[in-house]
């Protein structure tokens, strides 16, 4: 039951074909053969990359620390299986650019042997600080794709006296069912993770929002939460981008986060269901984040499904496992089809943020050439942030980037709703991303110029100062000489 008041809270958005039926009824497969080699990037989170603590040739157990976090916002990285570290070097990242990042190469020994785990602990006997310390040490990051270190968020929540923890079970991207399956199969674990988070943030209540196209997940979660009055499980309408934290916050609480603020400013904080599950495993079982559920789907996948995959597994191995027809695959996408990235090659590792791997056929991505804008305003009504995509694109096209910022470029969340509905096939999101990148580059260049100018100024001042000192010294010496000479003369006279 969705009240009329609440439906007014949804703005913009689109209803893409969900395409979830291929995988929503399949149990998560855990028989994926352990890869011989793993490629574990040291940056799988926002913030600073992790610093390796192992050396080439070291034998590591599953779950053993490979690299520790650095700085305020960072997360450690652990060994996804047991084996030998064969190299620590640059390797392409799972990103459209495939730019290399520092990566630990591992050869697995097939034993998949865990490091000695600490004995079972009662999370509710731990202090709130201890909870976030342990979550941080387990390398848990936001699994919905944002990859913000979970411990940092817990600390933020505790400091800001959060009134409600929101749990995102929306999964509004087409094709993806990893969260759906996780909720169906591990609802108890997720609810336990939510309880641990509530304890860790000293927050009184949690609301779980699940899109109404996942009735099985909703039932499972509702049952699992039945004994806990502080956790409410609610259905939300199927609507893209319901997974956008601010859309879900407004829908579930009626609150709107100010443009320059954070969710904590309105007393809420959001975590994804998979993050809650990872926290449950980290605290209850002392298991660091070394694997995740990945949806493999798309028209080119012969046997699509959801699989528990060790971090560092090459996507190419997943494609083979799911019998992806490479000749039919026109585009390889990591994430969902709305916000995911196209990957140039398949030899890239699965990371903590990999929710899905989509092998899309030409039919699934067909897009005509860009045509003239007919001002149909579909992009405007689709924008959940209340922007004017077409105006921003026009300004960017005529290189007026600042004026695009004036009308809200920085409020764009790149959800892709505008591009999705455009009948003229204008790649609006590309314009916005281009502009954002260009502005950042300009700002950097400006910063550099200012720095250089400052340095030159300082150098000039230094030179001036030294010369002034020299001149003063010379003058002093001269004065001394004159004085001496006059004294000598005087002496002679006398």
């Amino acid at each position: 039951m969705i009240s009329l008041m609440q439906s007014f809270r949804i703005r913009g958005g689109v209803h893409p074909d969900p395409k979830k039926t291929a995988t929503t009824d399949l149990s998560i497969a855990s028989d994926f053969p352990l890869p011989k080699k793993l490629y574990i990037p040291l940056q799988q989170h926002v913030g600073k990359p992790a610093e390796p603590v192992v050396r080439v040739g070291d034998y590591v157990y599953k779950g053993q620390l490979l690299a520790h976090s650095q700085g305020m916002i960072s997360a450690p990285v652990h060994a996804p299986s047991s084996g030998v570290v064969t190299d620590i070097a640059d390797y392409p990242a799972p990103h459209p650019s495939a730019l290399p990042i520092r990566t630990v190469f591992m050869e697995t020994d097939g034993k998949d042997a865990w490091q000695l785990l600490q004995t079972h602990t009662d999370p509710f006997a731990l202090s709130a600080e201890e909870i976030s310390l342990r979550v941080g040490a387990a390398g848990v990051v936001g699994m919905g794709g944002a990859t913000f270190p979970a411990a940092v968020k817990l600390n933020l929540g505790r400091k800001n006296k959060i009134s409600t923890l929101l749990i995102n079970g929306g999964e509004c991207e087409p094709y993806l069912t990893c969260d759906d399956r996780l909720m169906q199969e591990s609802a108890d674990g997720i609810i336990d993770g939510i309880r641990i988070m509530l304890h860790g943030m000293e927050t009184p209540q949690a609301i779980v929002g699940i899109e109404d196209n996942k009735p099985a997940a909703f039932r499972a979660m509702k049952n699992a939460a039945a004994d806990y009055r502080q956790i409410e499980v609610r259905q939300v309408p199927t609507h893209y981008p319901m997974g956008w934290d601010r859309q879900l916050i407004r829908y579930l609480t009626g609150k709107e986060v100010p443009a320059d603020g954070r969710a904590t400013d309105v007393g809420v904080l959001m975590h994804n269901v998979a993050t809650a599950y990872a926290i449950h495993k980290a605290i209850r079982h002392n298991r660091p984040l070394v694997d995740r559920v990945v949806t493999i789907a798309g028209g080119a996948a012969g046997s699509p499904g959801n699989i528990w995959v060790p971090i560092g597994t090459l996507i190419s191995e997943l494609l083979d496992y799911c019998r992806v027809n490479r000749t039919r695959m026109a585009r390889l996408v990591m994430g969902g089809p709305m916000m995911g990235d196209a990957l140039p090659i398949a030899e890239l590792p699965v990371v903590k943020a990999t929710s899905g791997i989509l092998a899309l056929t030409q039919d699934e991505i067909t897009r005509g050439s860009e045509q003239a804008c007919i001002r149909c305003a579909r992009c405007i009504s689709a924008c959940p942030a209340g922007l004017l995509p077409v105006d921003m694109a026009n300004r960017i096209r005529s290189n007026q980037l600042e004026s695009a910022v004036d009308i809200g470029l920085k409020d764009c969340i790149s959800c892709g709703s505008c591009s999705y509905v455009c009948p003229s096939n204008i790649p609006l999101v590309h314009y916005f991303k281009y502009a954002a990148g260009e502005l950042a580059a300009r700002q950097q260049a400006q910063h550099k110029t200012e720095q250089t100018k400052k340095l030159i100024d300082e150098r000039n001042k230094r030179i001036e100062r030294i010369e002034k000192q020299k001149a003063e010294e010379a003058a002093r010496e001269l004065a001394a000489k004159v004085a001496k000479y006059t004294a000598d003369q005087a002496e002679q006279v006398i």
């Binding site: 893409p16 601010r246 986060v257 100010p258 443009a259 603020g261 585009r331 089809p337 699934e364 004017l388």
Partner: protein, 354 residues
């Protein structure tokens, strides 16, 4: 400057193209058009075809001149739709050159000089309609009598060709005024509405469409049906049509209540002239109407007020084309001032306060 190779999402799009949208509008126009062609016979068919083929020719000619590929642009059906709307707005028995000149004005002056599809400020069909009305007032105000297909008064194929290409020989016997035109003349001679209206207006015939006028003026009901289709297919939203209809109905109701002998009732206003066609098919033109729902409500209400004003006090009996053109000119202004509120900000763009 920009690499548009799709590396980031969305990797999927709604299955909708410009041509698809234009064709939906044309489908929605078909019932009213067929009815009009049935009502006015061969001369109307001739004029209709002449206007459409001329428009397609001018579109092709302009694109060739600009060295642009002509076929894809012709395929998007936008020129077809413009010509269709223009033809529907002309007197059905107008001579052939009205269609040719009108199509030329619409495509060249109304669209291509601005840079083609999406660039024009004014609705091309209405621009051409008004330009024709001002240039050729006689031809543009000569309205054929209703002569349904197979009825005795219906011109046969040969007579049709004669009317289209050689003109009407005996004008008075086969033409007359439209409701709005007749009423305007009568009122100018101080005849009360109750007397003059009874001669020419029959509510049922007006709503069904058995009356003099252009193809787009005849059947209000079929036009509403087509408009409903466009709403159902989400090609248009309710904002513009409803605000036009409601504003005309409201203001005419007020004036009619004040003095029913001078001011027409809402029912006459809504069922005659180009009102329904304008509300659903012309004012809703994406290119020349505002972008936001609120802007569209302002645009529609103002259109309605202008239509009523021009009809009641203006020099012309019918005001839809003028009203829409005037509001087209104000569309950029409306879009400048009426913008959606950005999430997390107030209407002025400042971040919300806690």
């Amino acid at each position: 400057m920009l690499n548009v190779k799709p590396t980031t999402g969305p990797h999927t799009t709604e299955n909708l193209s410009i041509g698809g949208i234009m064709r939906q509008v044309i489908y929605a126009l078909i019932p009213a058009t067929l009815f009009g062609l049935y009502l006015f016979g061969w001369p109307a068919i001739n004029l209709f075809l002449i206007t459409i083929f001329s428009a397609l020719f001018f579109e092709y000619f302009c694109l060739k001149l600009a060295d642009k590929p002509a076929l894809p642009a012709l395929k998007d059906s936008s020129a077809l739709l413009t010509a269709w709307l223009l033809a529907m707005s002309l007197p059905p028995w107008a001579p052939w050159w009205v269609g040719v000149i009108g199509a030329g004005l619409a495509i060249i002056l109304g669209k291509q000089v601005y840079g083609g599809l999406g660039q024009n400020l004014f609705n091309p069909a209405m621009l051409a309609r008004v330009a024709l009305l001002i240039s050729f007032p006689l031809e543009l105000t000569t309205w054929a009598n209703v002569a349904p297909w197979l009825s005795e008064s219906a011109p046969d194929f040969k007579t049709g060709l004669h009317i289209t290409f050689m003109g009407l020989d005996n004008i008075d016997s086969s033409t007359g005024a439209t409701v709005l035109g007749y009423v305007k003349t009568e009122l100018s001679q101080k005849h009360p509405l109750s007397a003059s209206l009874a001669d020419i207006y029959n509510s049922n015939n007006a709503w069904l469409g058995f009356m003099r006028g252009s193809l787009s003026e005849t059947s209000a009901i079929l036009l509403i049906l087509g408009g409903g289709w466009l709403l159902f297919k989400k090609i248009i939203t309710w904002h513009i049509p409803l605000s036009i209809i409601i504003s005309v109905a409201l203001i005419s109701a007020v004036f009619h209540a004040l003095n029913p002998e001078i001011y027409l009732s809402p029912s006459v206003h809504l069922s005659s002239g180009a009102l329904m066609c304008a509300a659903f098919f012309i004012a809703t033109d994406y290119v020349t109407s505002p972008n936001t729902p609120l802007g569209q409500l302002i645009f529609g209400s103002a259109c309605g007020l202008l239509i009523f004003t021009i009809r009641t006090w203006g020099g012309y009996p019918e005001g839809a084309a003028f009203a829409i053109l005037l509001m087209n000119a104000l569309t950029p202004l409306i879009d400048h001032y009426v913008k959606p509120r950005i999430y997390g900000r107030d209407r002025q763009g400042r971040p919300l306060e806690l």
